[in-house]
Symmetry: C2
Subunit: 335 residues, 2 copies
């Protein structure tokens, strides 16, 4: 519980060696006899000395921080995705003795991100979503800040980690098609998010694979607010859609509520599937067919990749992670 900050100088004086030596003992770099190294290490242990990372950072022009950029948009802030992802990132960062600095950006305001890099407060950045026109990514590139995106980027130069949303959506759609469902609708969110595009492609892929073509009028994009969702649901019911795939759990929750309100039964009258099997859907009755991604692992891998890259290792440009299709009651056939 001591609090007088002991420095490398104190140790040097106490041990009658130079601070160079102490520094070497700690870092393990440079020639040093095992004897002195041990003597130093012992003292450090006993005195519970912890090097001042800030000072170290100044000397090495590093901060030992990475920036975690997440959307500050109100509609997205609720998704458990970012928090779970952060858990993975944070765990790995810690193990490398890095810390995670958060930065919330919105579509029109990346001021926080700029501050972070202009103030030299991070050595690298994780972008947690990708946009078709990706301001933050462009900014980081222009300023030569090492970064990695979670989510596919159209710019192939960018190091990116993503679950394979396209294949995932294709597989889910395929299964549904093979069950004989034809009137299949898709509801998606913001089209400027790459992930939305990828899912849409997967949906179309599945149709093509089976020599079918999707009914474009049943593909609803940019459906972001509850009012819009309700309107779409009404239209789908009227048009007797057999099954609807929701691009995220938030949309799905709204869809389910609207159906409930209208007393349309799931899966009896209409089937429903979703992306992500987050807490938003957990324990729903009926259980909801959905795609599963290991978001924490995604965070961990991303963080490791960024750290590797910052150390100058060459890393894979594009990493695609798996998924799991989990068929539940909400898409079952009812006799």
């Amino acid at each position: 519980m001591e609090n007088k900050k002991v420095t490398i100088d104190d140790i040097a004086r106490e041990l009658n060696v130079s601070k160079t030596t102490v520094s070497r003992a700690i870092s393990g770099k440079g020639r040093i006899s095992t004897a002195t190294r041990e003597r130093v290490m012992e003292y450090i242990q006993a005195a519970n000395y912890k090097p001042n990372v800030i000072a170290k950072g100044l000397a090495k022009s590093k901060t030992y921080n990475i920036g975690f950029v997440m959307p500050g948009d109100y509609s997205l802030v609720d998704l458990p995705f970012f928090q779970e992802c952060m858990l993975g990132v944070s765990e790995i960062a810690s193990s490398y003795d890095y810390d995670v600095l958060i930065s919330m950006v919105t579509e029109n305001d990346m001021g926080q991100l700029k501050r972070l890099v202009e103030n030299h407060k991070v050595d690298g950045v994780i972008l947690t979503r990708t946009l078709v026109k990706d301001g933050p990514a462009e900014y980081l590139e222009a300023n030569q800040v090492p970064f990695v995106t979670i989510g596919t980027s159209l710019n192939k130069e960018i190091v990116q980690i993503d679950n394979d949303h396209r294949s995932a959506c294709r597989e889910l759609t395929s299964i549904l098609l093979m069950r004989g469902i034809r009137k299949l609708a898709l509801i998606g969110g913001n089209k400027t998010h790459v992930v939305t595009q990828k899912r849409l492609q997967g949906f179309q892929d599945a149709f093509l694979e089976q020599g079918l073509s999707p009914d474009n009028s049943l593909i609803y994009m940019d459906v972001e607010h509850n009012v819009m969702i309700e309107k779409v649901v009404e239209e789908m019911v009227e048009r007797q859609v057999e099954c609807v795939i929701c691009m995220d759990d938030s949309i799905c929750t709204h869809v389910l509520n609207k159906l409930r309100k209208e007393k349309i039964r799931v899966p009896g009258d209409i089937k429903v599937a979703s992306f992500y099997n987050s807490s938003l859907l957990e324990s729903n009755i009926p259980s909801i067919t959905s795609l599963n991604f290991d978001v924490k692992e995604l965070g961990m891998i991303t963080c490791r990749t960024l750290l590797d890259r910052m150390e100058g290792k060459t890393v894979q440009r594009r990493t695609l992670l798996g998924y799991e299709v989990s068929m539940k009651e909400s898409t079952q056939n009812v006799l």
Copy 2:
């Protein structure tokens, strides 16, 4: 888009002044003629110079970072609360030129928090929940790290900001009692969280106020997993509870699902109320009576308080924020 980091030295050389002068122009401290100050500032503007916060930090023994400690427990990580709160914190921190460093701790592992303070990476810390036996708070106190808690702490010396959960729960309970409801149940989570205790007290307060006493066998605490929730719901139904108050939206969601599964109607057969009006409940049918707190504002106020405290200003020990009771369909009387 320049990237050669320009330093205070460069500016001094360029302008034929000492770096002392440049520093003074920037900080605004110390005597300096308006003329030179302006000359310096102009140059800085033009060169898009940004001081290196790390170096500044070293010189002043500050980091310009605050730590935001959130639970890494899986059960809690999903609650939108922390993310929304972080949004408020982050906004204020930015405006003071501080950054937010996250740290995820669990009940058994506060290693991340320790690293943060031992590595001298933060000037202050925000604890986002309080525990009856509060390890993190004790640690910070022992190490003399300035901190503020979100949530009431039993230790009155600790600077704490909280919504008035006790009064909120009392008021909600009162309203229900005044409507003639007597068989009122309460389901709460982890009892080691102070907030759980506060809500329980509020519940009891309401009964006492009206000269009644709560049926303790209808107070269910430490109900944390879905299995337990389901069991509790079954018992409540059997005992013909009239109304149940859920201590958080996650519990409430599970309760609602279980009731739905058992085909118990809300509010017809049983009434339901919840805390927080988060996205988890949004657009539920029926709409759910619940307490509302402005979580983002909570984050903003907390951050401001911490920053004030770090600057040595005296701050209020305990700040209680308001709440709103929002009565909806789920507690309505059905004729």
